[in-house]
Amino acid sequence: MREVDPLFQELRDGMLHHVTGPEPAKVIARARARTVRRRFTAGALAAAVAVSVVAFQGGPGRDAPPPVLTTSSPAPVQETPLKLKDLLYAEQAAKGSRIRWYTSTDKDGGSLFIQTCGGGTEEESDPLGVEIPGTDRRFHIKYEGNLEPGNEMTTTSRGEEVIVFTDEATARRTMNDITTWAGQCEKKSIVLGRPRIGDEAVSTVWTEPDSPEPQRTNGVAARQGRVIVVYGDLRNNGRPLATLADHEHDARTMVDKLKSLGY
């Protein structure tokens, strides 16, 4: 039996003094640029709303009576604040193994369970891998398939993401971004679909191109009002944990639930 401790020491000692990263000032500048960009996005949205209000007020004259509608609008339904326990996988995750199930309410929740291939910048290569601008709340539940026997080739995972945005326009714009960036994947690697779920939806079936053991993902993103739900799975050679039809079914169920909660 070989002693492994000295090998770790050798690896560490052999590389430690040779690893150099960017200067700290550059890391700070990157973080600051990201913050400024988020503020700018939020500010632009607020300005757009203000302009539209002024335009509306300026139209018929400020003293004019409000326009008469031919039909009365239904009274707005009060939204019930969404909680982690409202997610479809929440009960199973709570009962399941802590090793396999991962839950998070962190707004900075990591990549979405849907494949995209664009939208990055030099400072931020993955626009969906950090807090998405306009996020109000975010919930994430993930299941890891076969950890114990597995190396990466047989790893599988499946997940549910629910992102509540500050307003519907931001959610709509984010859906547009997801669809655009998914369309930037190599044509041979991705099949895009537009299932009829909620206000709008997009599905992706992606196979890593030019790989002998390709990674495969299926995912659905659906928007209901200011909420986007995402269901997806990932695998290489492992047993698939779900099909696209499963994800579409889950997205439909969650959208119905959101409607019942007033979203």
Partner: protein, 169 residues
């Protein structure tokens, strides 16, 4: 300004170690650098809080490992990573033994690999790894024990194969 200085000092001290840990964990130096840089970038806006922790290094490590394990991100960012980093940086290539160790690490289950790397390279205690992983200490001990045993077997096989090859040559 004082914040920037304390962050810079922390970054300079902790970055190389985290890159090597993540290299051992992922087997990919570019991916390790990418995840480590992203982890520190996320630490800065929270530095008031993170910097006050007993172990800010553990916070950054937790984020770095989470980013590294996200294969969604990996698939999406292969090209972005290449143009961000350019060619591989001027890092001395690991020795033959280290390469064998990293190869063997890739063959053990992910939880065991993470525990072994955190403990043997990051210097984290069993209790700290348990807190970082959300697992019981007994579970972490089992991961460490199984992981070490399997690594030793794999490395012994490697040595036997090397001897066999050189004998035939």
């Amino acid at each position: 300004m004082a914040d920037e200085e304390s962050f810079a000092e922390f970054y300079r001290g902790a970055y190389p170690g985290l890159v090597i840990e993540l290299y051992a964990y992922t087997g990919d130096l570019g991916e390790a650098q990418d995840a480590a840089q992203e982890a520190f970038t996320r630490a800065w806006p929270r530095w008031d809080r993170v910097g006050s922790y007993d172990q800010p290094r553990a916070w950054v490590a937790r984020v770095g490992y989470r980013l590294a394990v996200s294969r969604w991100r990996k698939a999406r960012n292969t090209l972005a990573s290449l143009w961000r980093h350019g060619p591989q940086p001027d890092v001395a290539p690991p020795g033959v033994v280290s390469v064998a160790l990293v190869d063997a690490l890739r063959l053990i289950p992910e939880k065991q690999r993470r525990a072994v790397v955190l403990h043997h390279m990051g210097g984290y205690s069993v209790a700290e790894i348990a807190a970082m992983s959300g697992a019981a200490e007994g579970t972490v001990k089992a991961w460490l024990s199984r992981g070490r045993r399997r690594l030793a077997e794999l490395l012994a096989d490697e040595t036997d194969e090397t001897k066999e090859t050189s004998r035939h040559a």
